[in-house]
Assembly symmetry: C2
C-alpha cells in the first residue's frame, strides 16, 4: 500500500501524510472509509506507531481524516462550506508554482491543458456501468 524512502531527508510522517492525501484526493480511499489502525500500519511498515499517529494527527488537522477513540480513523468527506480557508491557501500555493512554471518557459496553454486533462480524468471515470 505504501512505499517509504527511509533514506530521504523528508520525515517519514510527512511522506505518510503526502501518500495518504494522494490516495484520498484520487478517490482510492473513499469518504468515511476506515484507514488502517496506527498499530496495524506501523507493523506493516515496520515503523513506530507514534510516527503513524503523528501523520494521522496532521491529516486530521488538515481536515482530510477524522479519528474516533475506540473506533478508528476515517476519510473525511469534504465540506465546501467549511473548507474555504484551505481553498485559499491552495490557491496561493498554486500561484507560486504557476509563476515558477511560466518563468521556466512552460507555455500557459500547456498549463491550461494540464488542468483540463486532470479535470476530465476526474469526472470521466464514472461514465461506465
Amino acid at each position: 500500500m505504501f512505499e517509504l524512502d527511509m533514506r530521504s531527508r523528508k520525515p517519514i510522517y510527512e511522506q505518510l501524510v503526502d501518500k495518504l492525501k494522494e490516495l484520498i484526493i484520487n478517490d482510492i480511499l473513499k469518504p468515511d472509509e476506515q484507514l488502517p489502525s496506527v498499530r496495524t500500519l506501523a507493523q506493516e511498515l515496520t515503523i513506530n506507531p507514534n510516527t503513524i499517529q503523528k501523520a494521522y494527527r496532521e491529516l486530521e488537522i488538515q481536515g482530510f481524516i477524522y479519528s474516533v477513540k475506540g473506533k478508528g480513523s476515517f476519510v473525511n468527506p469534504i465540506d465546501m462550506k467549511k473548507d474555504t480557508e484551505k481553498m485559499d491557501s491552495v490557491k496561493k500555493e498554486l500561484e507560486k508554482l504557476i509563476l515558477e512554471a511560466l518563468y521556466l518557459g512552460i507555455p500557459a496553454d500547456d498549463l491550461i491543458k494540464l488542468i483540463k486533462d486532470l479535470n476530465a480524468s476526474k469526472g470521466g471515470g464514472e461514465s461506465n456501468d
Copy 2:
C-alpha cells in the same frame, strides 16, 4: 529587502530560498544581477553567514543563481534547453496541487482563469514606456 519569521518551524535558509526565488521569478532580481554577499546579507538580517551560504548553495543547485569565487553570486539566466528536468518536476508538483484544488471543489475554470491572469500580468507590464 527580506522579512524572516524566526519563530516559524520552517528553517531560515528555506525561507531565504523561497524569498529569493520569488524575487527572481517576479523579475525583481534581473538576470546576471549580483546578489548581496553572504556577509553583507548576514549582517543586514542579523543571522549567520553560514545560513546565507546554505541558501545560496541550494539556489545554485536548483539553478536559480550561480556563484563565482572572489566575485559574488548572480541571478542565473534561464536556459530552456537545459531546464527540461526542472520543468518536468514543476509540472509534477503542479499536478498534485491541481488535483488537490479540484478535490476541494475549486472549479477548473477558476484555475484556468488564474493562469491566464498570471500570464497576462507577466508580459503585460511591458506595454508602457
